[in-house]
Symmetry: C2
Amino acid sequence: MTQDGRRAKGLRSREAILGQAVALASVEGLGGLSLGRLAVATGLSKSGFFAHWRDKEQLQLDAVGWAVRQWRERVIAPALGAPAGVRRLFALHEARLAFYAGRVLPGGCFFFAVQAEFDDHPGAVRSRVAEALRGWEAFIRRLVEEAVELGELSPEVNPAQLAYEIDALGDMVVTHSRLLDEHEILGHARRAVLQRLRALCPDPSLLPED
Amino acid sequence: MTQDGRRAKGLRSREAILGQAVALASVEGLGGLSLGRLAVATGLSKSGFFAHWRDKEQLQLDAVGWAVRQWRERVIAPALGAPAGVRRLFALHEARLAFYAGRVLPGGCFFFAVQAEFDDHPGAVRSRVAEALRGWEAFIRRLVEEAVELGELSPEVNPAQLAYEIDALGDMVVTHSRLLDEHEILGHARRAVLQRLRALCPDPSLLPED
DNA sequence: TAGATAAACGACCGGTCGTTCGTATAGTCT
DNA sequence: AGACTATACGAACGACCGGTCGTTTATCTA
């Protein structure tokens, strides 16, 4: 319980480095993440890293963990502020779009970049990323099921199917908004999910019209 | 017009190399595409490449061009075999899913990998990729407009909006099918577009039920 | 105060990267 | 036959990569 100034400083360093690493990886990917450049970005020396992580893979794994926490705080938590049901489902979609539009990460989305990079590279990092993705899909599915149970979505809805649709319509914003017209793409992504939910909702007045 | 055996051989080499490059880049990305590994995969020497391309960027640009041609042959052309309208639109979606499911490229999709990689890296490659993406989106949009003109889609349909949805629902298959259950994801992607089109189509019998 | 410990550093290693250069070979043209 | 040219090669380069090592500095503990 004694407060060790040394360990506290180390913890601060780790957190700062992981934040930078996630931001950098959202642009360059976890593989293109060079320890040298990361050192420059954090004002530390390259060799100093190995006091905190055994090798690059450990840093990558911790970066995934850090990104999961960030996603929970910036996307999931805000959505949980909305009332359960179809409104919470749409709030989740909007929170995600806001995360992208707000340029929280310079590359848009850590997970998108890392999924595209590691889907064909078996290993510990891929396993963690797949686990995070499964958790995310399961979370959306649960919100769908909640909405069905509350009678706010048609009972004929297939939760896994709708979860895939919502996720896909949001995911594609990351690259397309950077290669095409950002404002237009964000509008398409928002309206696509909104109209889909309104069509399935017995009481569309729960959701904005447009 | 005289057939030069030397140039013919060079052309064959270039085509073989570009095919390998596109396949490799669908896994590693265009940046992670190492000339050394590419040389081994094609049975040539690394230095021999520079007889064909000034530098790596030229090779990358040609690889994008090759991938565009491949996409036209393997996805767009088959779809054009279907009658214009909503059936052609769905045939396009199915041809794309077949391209992924058939493992034509080991990484699933060249464009997906390259878009994720270059959306934040300005330069000639990014410009070409963005141009290819604009062309692809415009193509889907045109098929939507055709279907509307033929009365096979509700006149209230926003073509750009629907094109985004179809593209997004197909795009996300690339990573998700590799990180989750492939068969399930393919089913979600297929059914999502199918049901969306059937709901907008005055004569749903034009499309399969499921 | 002396010893232990954690954080961070500079110098350096072997390996791979993209690229250059000089050269050999084989097909084409005059 | 001789000049020319496209293809391809081996050797070598400078830059950068992930990672190791020994050391210094600051802090905590006995």
